[in-house]
Symmetry: C2
Subunit: 109 residues, 2 copies
DNA sequence: TAACTATATTACTGAGTAGCAATTTACATT
DNA sequence: AATGTAAATTGCTACTCAGTAATATAGTTA
């Protein structure tokens, strides 16, 4: 349970973080990082998105604390900041599953 | 743990649901509903948003399965579909707290 | 039926942003 | 220093969407 009171300001910050996850491209990037840390170019190849695009998504994910950066020579390696991110995704997936089950039942019933 | 594989299609659906929570106005509406079911106009008064605006937000939250509707005469009462929504918000708040603590420490150190 | 009320819908405007091409920055190698 | 490479940044276009005013719909009451 969080100690933060849900003032409008806090809600704006929370919304901002949800927004970071509200983009298929960024979810895909995070999903790739599940395998371990990767350089930007690896992610570009893995996802098929443009370099500039991936870089911008990574900046945002970093600002929001979802990934960490490690610079090594020419390369910048990104990795998941923690495993907790997928708790959020799993929870959402769970909701989605129940939602789809409900919808199927309604159509069948 | 979810059984869904994270195909691009599933990720798009998940992203769509995160997007529903990525809006301060909608978080505020959900927060209001914590107290119990409310008619649209109550939410309009409570939040200060316009009627059309609140109505549209509620449609989206309903489509995404976050709230349920109950019609009674002229009134339409909305309520949280389940308590699990705030698990998502609490998780996000927790991340935010840690993030802020880290930032403070960095500035202080 | 006519007037009234709550909610939904429509049409519009302005703000934000994803994606891309081109450029810049940072570092490495020769 | 000159060249090359990885990543970040910038300028742009197209699209999405929050918010609002006006209207439509659905239900109630006189």
């Amino acid at each position: 349970m969080s100690k933060l009171t849900l003032t409008p300001e806090v809600m704006a910050l929370v919304a901002e973080r949800f927004k970071a996850l509200a983009e298929p491209a960024r979810l895909q990037i995070l999903s790739c990082l599940r395998a371990g840390e990767m350089a930007v170019n690896d992610l570009v190849n893995e996802t098929g998105f443009g370099q500039a695009n991936v870089s911008k998504h990574l900046q945002l994910l970093h600002t929001m604390g979802f990934v960490r950066r490690r610079k090594d020579g020419l390369f910048v390696y990104y990795a998941l900041a923690d495993k907790g991110i997928f708790q959020l995704c799993d929870t959402m997936c769970g909701r989605l599953e129940r939602e789809m089950k409900r919808r199927r039942k309604r159509l069948a019933g």
